[in-house]
Symmetry: C2
């Protein structure tokens, strides 16, 4: 390994190496075939225990066992940083879109009468707040509504690549896309429209933001009521994708729901 | 490291070492502080990619994105074996019971009128089929109903430790426990009763097995109807724990549901 190479490459190499060793430890039956064997120090043992704990914590979040949590446990800061920025988060998103949602879309028989619909959430579904959450220690700091508003007004969220691909596939298929977000309509409406447009989300049917009537209501109640209205308008909701369980629970959730990973925050 | 020690210990040491290296790769910013640095071979690179894929696959299963899957992908055999047998599965179960369900139980205000109820699934919730699935390549082989029946008739499933602790806590609290299982009542009733008893599940309110009327029905429909009957009898279902999404979906699911991990099979 050339130490003059950029540190991100070194980083990546070391991650690969570590993953490989994990596989070795799990897979290999031959006790004396591991060239990396050496004693474990107390510090290393404790780092291993922390990673195992944080993996359990993340699974509990994604399986909807852990609810209404306010912040990422501080001991999981580096773990969540690693998960979000070193490739596994992106791999998880790609897996869901490429191996699950695409297969589902191939199999469904559309009505083709203008009623075929699909729902996408906005924050950390279509567009990413990862850059913002980097400054909030990946969710270890509590939610800061004013700072988030300032961030969202910049309209600088980048597209979530897997979801942009999904978006374009749905558009090609002739499925009408409804974007439903808990963002406030009056203060963040224009910035959200601009941000979606500058990131390539173009041609969707409707962007629905939280109007005055839904202020203070939980996402489950607000989004359920919006979906119910769409169904009453005659739409058939084939799919519903969000990074929060509250995006895909409640009424009229759609024929199939898909939960994208997000270990950084919980929206009730 | 003493190579004469039992291989399970060697195994554990090597797993710890690998986990530690993973943490190192994720956490450490200093490119030149890793004493394990060495070139990655093609085989190692491919093993790392497989582990990353299998982690995405397992997350998709546990978050209920992947449904109606028949077998574990063959490339994930070693990964799932490692997950199930080297500690993370047990840690995940302990986390859910100790850090989530216990907290929930502490917070609820019971009716204390004999109506407080809790539902537990049986297979891979109260008692474990891990030994059986070891012979079925941890789910890489398709479900084999006759072989499973032969296994279940032995009444040799061992208790899932975390769930036995939960069971005893619920008993102490005076909550009535209902065990609901998709196992066939006529052929497996006695063996299941015996197995639960010999593993320490003693004092529950009722064991409900699949009667003739529910043969061929999906678990969601069968279990929903049973729960509905319990609610009509006047029970308040505070919690509902199962290893399958079909245990905790449908009607009358309970005040809170908890999904235990199980990457070995899918019950519709």
């Amino acid at each position: 390994m050339d130490l003059r190479q950029p540190s991100s490459t070194v980083y990546g190499m070391r991650l690969k190496e570590a993953i490989v060793l994990l596989i070795f430890a799990i897979c290999s039956k031959a006790a004396n075939s591991n060239p990396y064997r050496r004693p474990i120090t107390d510090t290393q043992e404790s780092a291993g225990a922390t990673a195992a704990y944080c993996l359990s914590w993340r699974l509990a979040v994604e399986a909807n066992n852990l609810r209404a949590w306010r912040t990422v446990p501080i001991q999981c800061l580096r773990y969540i940083e690693g998960y979000m920025t070193l490739g596994q988060y992106e791999r998880d998103l790609n897996f869901i879109v490429e191996n699950i949602i695409n297969d589902y879309i191939e199999e469904i028989i559309l009505e083709n009468d203008g009623s075929d619909a699909w729902i996408l959430d906005v924050d950390d579904t279509c567009i990413s707040n990862l850059l913002y959450y980097k400054g909030k220690r990946f969710g270890c700091d509590p939610f800061d509504p004013m700072a988030f508003k300032t961030w969202a007004l910049k309209a600088e969220c980048s597209a979530v690549p897997a979801v942009l691909i999904l978006f374009n596939k749905l558009m090609e298929k002739g499925i009408k896309i409804f974007l439903i977000t808990g963002r406030d309509e009056i203060t963040l409406g224009q910035a959200t429209l601009d941000n979606l447009y500058n990131q390539g989300f173009i041609g969707y049917e409707r962007l629905i933001l939280r109007s005055k009537a839904y202020r203070g209501k939980s996402a489950i109640i607000y989004k359920s009521e919006i979906r119910k209205q769409l169904v009453e308008e005659g739409y058939k909701i084939w799919g519903n994708v969000g990074d929060q369980w509250s995006d895909i629970q409640g009424d009229c959730v759609g024929e199939r729901t898909f939960k994208l990973p997000n270990p950084m925050y919980f929206v009730p």
